[in-house]
Symmetry: D3
């Protein structure tokens, strides 16, 4: 049975993966309020689940290592609700930079940051640029961007992309960890992003989940475990396809 | 005649604009190599031109201030070519944060970061999130995202979006500052983004313009001043439309 | 069945624990080489196991929350061996500070940093002092210091305290995760701490695990699962006793 | 016609200047209240004007490049008045350091920071020392120090050196941009530096322009465009003389 | 007569000591309230006195340099009382790091940080680890840890180790600088560490000397000059013994 | 007998001085090579001597406290010679800022930074500006600027102001600590400032004391103890006069 969980391996096992030029996937997420109905680790759990799914899908074909999950993301906009544990933008960036640098120093050359939290997306990519300026090339992606079309086709609610504690995330949790979900407290909130500012266009505004809001951005009422299964499969399959291509690309 | 250039105004004039709840547009760009044929300030010049265009278009209707241009962006990936002046990601973010904070302290509540350089985009938006965490809400957008559809319709080359020293940027410069453009040295390079890594999908990679590359990402051969004029008009019009909506949105 | 794993709970569940003035235990460790025979997450796994053990032991008696594990510690001295993922001292300190500050902001007043990696100990405690300077009072301890006497009595080898990949750590892993241990590659190395500098007294020296060393500081040959069980029980019991006292101490 | 404006040139043009060992002048200033009668960009406009003047004076004789203006200076003491946009001391220093380092990396060896704002002076020079510690040698000067004697001889008011929105600055603006000056609101204030602390000697105190003050330090009533012209000519001439000598000094 | 005080020597004299591979002792302490009866420099004075004592004891035998004293330590917990001058943890660490790095650059290879303030202990050792990560190996010790057994045997009060303004520190000051001590204001306070949190075990808590406390942690009523003399001799002798061993250990 | 040495006082004594609104003088200097003939602490020793001289001169008239000396200054340009211990510009600034902030928090309102090292001057004053931006007003001066005219009149050599290990500094050391001076190794070096760049005007260049240089900037051959006495008296008298005025100026 192949091993691919970095933290459960011994130093020689990891060195051997490096010798096979393994692709390292670093799951990145957050611990933050997810409405009243989802557990606070929804984002990092998804990043980790997708990473492990791709590693499993590629077992025997492409060597893949799933690194320990960076669960400490950027969520100051969720701090009004208990349970959120956020880093500042600068600290989060520094954590990613130092961890990836270690991997690079050990000789890994195919490193992918796989993110599960919208608030991390920009900082993660800015960090990839920082690393690039030091000659360390990494890929960075938020998992739902890997299957935007499939997700849009699968959801039934009005909102076709991932919001927060929405149809997509709730479906995934219902599929993966139903025991942690409390659908009785799920509410729909389509005033998204929950900001006082003009939305709907290309202008980016920082969404504040104020105490008066629901902490939800989307419509969990349409969620189902079946939908979650289908979404997860689409994402994992697309990630596996990317990793396959990635592994074949020589990096000096 | 209305005044809208922050730096050319006196303190009382700016205070009066604040009293009218003026929208402040902060042009953000870079000084970096733009192939052999375009001037190094192409990005910041465009951000500034678009901002001034919108201010002019809204004269007498919506009070707008165009702040002094932040020409120092994030361009480590262009440092292999002479002329590039880059800040680090962290310093660039700090500059934006401190300048916007001053505006907020003076009482302005409708502030828009208008960017002209792809390498700035993520850090600019991460900075907006940082500011949000301190209760300062700003909008942030890269100018070509304001008219993605119009641009795609106008360009003739294969690549339908903005690259670097490409059909779009070259057209804009031909329209605005033909005397600074040297079309004899313009080359087409469609190996974009110019990275060794797998591209074409949602995964972000840091593009390195190595010495061996052309420093171009796109096809300037299709550029024309007419196209530049049309693109500029589309962007300015869409920005003006946004500013109009923005100004009407109350911000506490 | 009581819940005490922070990350698997919903925001309301965590808020309820806060209302009961729950003690929060934050496991802190590292991912680093542990000789050839132990998995790289030995330290953080132990911190987490001990924390969960105490939470379970106190179930129904004292409300306890086990926070998500900070697995990214300070291990530059292990970077010569593959698998180590280290933060700098400053970044590690900042991560702890920001996470604890979030807990304090949510209203938790009994927070304990529970560490499983020697290299973190001083920085963790210096961070507790930093937090104290901001009015945030936390406790900090490395798990084996909770049962120093019991451990000394239980080990058979020459070295009576915890080293690295030593009798104690190996016993604990044999008890908890035998399938990840490869005793065939375990070696004894008593040149500890593995530094060129004078040792054995109160003077602190930074131990470097150079490529030429074994990466071990101790004698795993005496390790056994039984010993691991006894050590774990002693540590968990002593931690539970502390948490009981801690919870009764009012913190303003 | 010779080109010397960095930002309006193409990468090859700048590289050619580097090959001729051009002197680079980096204008440094601020955006800050300048009494009620002067525009907020007085300081950076002057630095830029002086730099361009010297470049023009030396055209055909000494290759000179005028870099894009660093208009973001250190002006916390002017924040009580609307329009001021200040960086912190540390960020300003970092901006200068990173921009100069880029120039040095491109091969320029004769770099001069030309400052137009008193509040920048010490930090600019401390930054030159920082750069020096990294082997990057630059010159740094505030423009009025280049012609202290000439200025003292030209002014009629009591105060013979540059204050703030004073006889010298007002004369320069009247000469260069009369349309932006509102002499009706100009007031004389000789309580300078406007601090509560003992002045007139060598002890440095940070001058605070409190809301109750005029924001002026000097006597603009004596200002005239003619005086401005004479002052500008003296400064430009002396700068040109320095640049001539500077260019001849070999720097390894 | 041998010289060993770094700051009173000329550059050639220090270089000569370097050529003899001298051991450098860097005294580290603080300026902070020490109850009502002791001077605020008690901690740094002790570190310096012990260092000079060891240098003198080893004169003619082992070359020793005593560096200028770092009197600026980490004492935020004493700021409620006048006289305390504290650095932040980060700044203190940076000061130590930069000074030690200079010594290392000059070629010294046997460097010992000798601390006299409990609040510095963890940060000093974390800094030694930081330096180690850059290949700079230093020793670090708090002076009373050099003679813990002797001190415990000498004190008469209930508390057998060093607290704050306690029997040990008061005895040392009575022996060394009786004229600065005011025993009339000395009070005994055994509520130590003066924290609201559970103590007496291995868990570290940050002690706050609140305004309502005495600022004392210990029993100065048992102090005597004779005891101070005996304690000082024990510490100096043990330090000298360590330095002797240290000097013989080759450091690459 | 009046006490004025901060570090030798007890907390109540310092609080009493605060109640009398004492002027605090913080001596600031460096430890750095001073040619072959002067001790490395020349600069900080002078700052401290001048401060103590003024305190003594004002005894019974103006309450003055002399704070512990900040001997760690900015001297990267002297690192080529053994004995120099430098901080970076940023760390030095932070040290000053934190120490002064403590004094301000304790209620002192008349604080003067008294510097003895040219390399500190700009950073010290930039730090005063930083502190001012936080509402903390301090004075800052380099001691020889207090008596520039008197010094120019007293020196016999060509260079009339203070250089480095020059006529002035050597005279002062001969007067104060002849036993530490080795005039046999004193050399005259008038290539000052010792930089490759054009000098003699207002443009600031960072002086590098390269290994090939003497490390001297001035003419110690004219030095004498009598001259040192006269210079010291002039500086102390002028400082006392300033402190007298300073103490009378109310600071809110």
């Amino acid at each position: 049975m192949e091993k691919y969980v970095w933290q459960q391996m011994r130093r020689d096992e990891i060195a051997e993966m490096r010798d096979h030029d393994a692709v390292v996937i670093l799951p990145v997420g957050s611990i933050e309020q997810h409405g009243r109905h989802l557990p606070v680790d929804t984002d990092i759990h998804m990043a980790q689940t997708v990473a492990l799914g791709a590693a499993q899908a590629l077992a025997g074909e492409v060597p893949v290592l799933v690194a320990p999950p960076v669960w400490s993301g950027v969520s100051p906009h969720h701090m009004h609700f208990t349970g959120t544990l956020t880093l500042s933008v600068d600290t989060f960036s520094q954590v990613l930079k130092e961890i990836v640098t270690c991997m690079w120093q050990h000789g890994f050359r195919h490193i992918l940051l796989l993110n599960g939290h919208g608030g991390n997306d920009q900082t993660m990519k800015a960090t990839a640029l920082k690393l690039g300026a030091e000659g360390i090339e990494v890929g960075a992606v938020t998992y739902w961007d890997l299957a935007a079309a499939e997700i849009a086709a699968l959801v039934d609610g009005e909102r076709k992309s991932v919001g927060h504690a929405c149809e997509v995330e709730t479906s995934l949790m219902l599929y993966l960890r139903q025991e942690l979900v409390d659908m009785d407290t799920a509410v729909t909130d389509l005033k998204v992003p929950p900001t006082r500012l003009p939305t709907g266009g290309p202008v980016y505004f920082w969404p504040v989940f104020d105490p008066g809001t629901t902490g939800v951005a989307g419509d969990p009422s349409h969620a189902s475990a079946e939908k979650g299964k289908a979404i997860l499969e689409a994402v994992v399959q697309n990630l596996a396809a990317f990793v396959r291509r990635f592994h074949k690309t020589p990096i000096s």
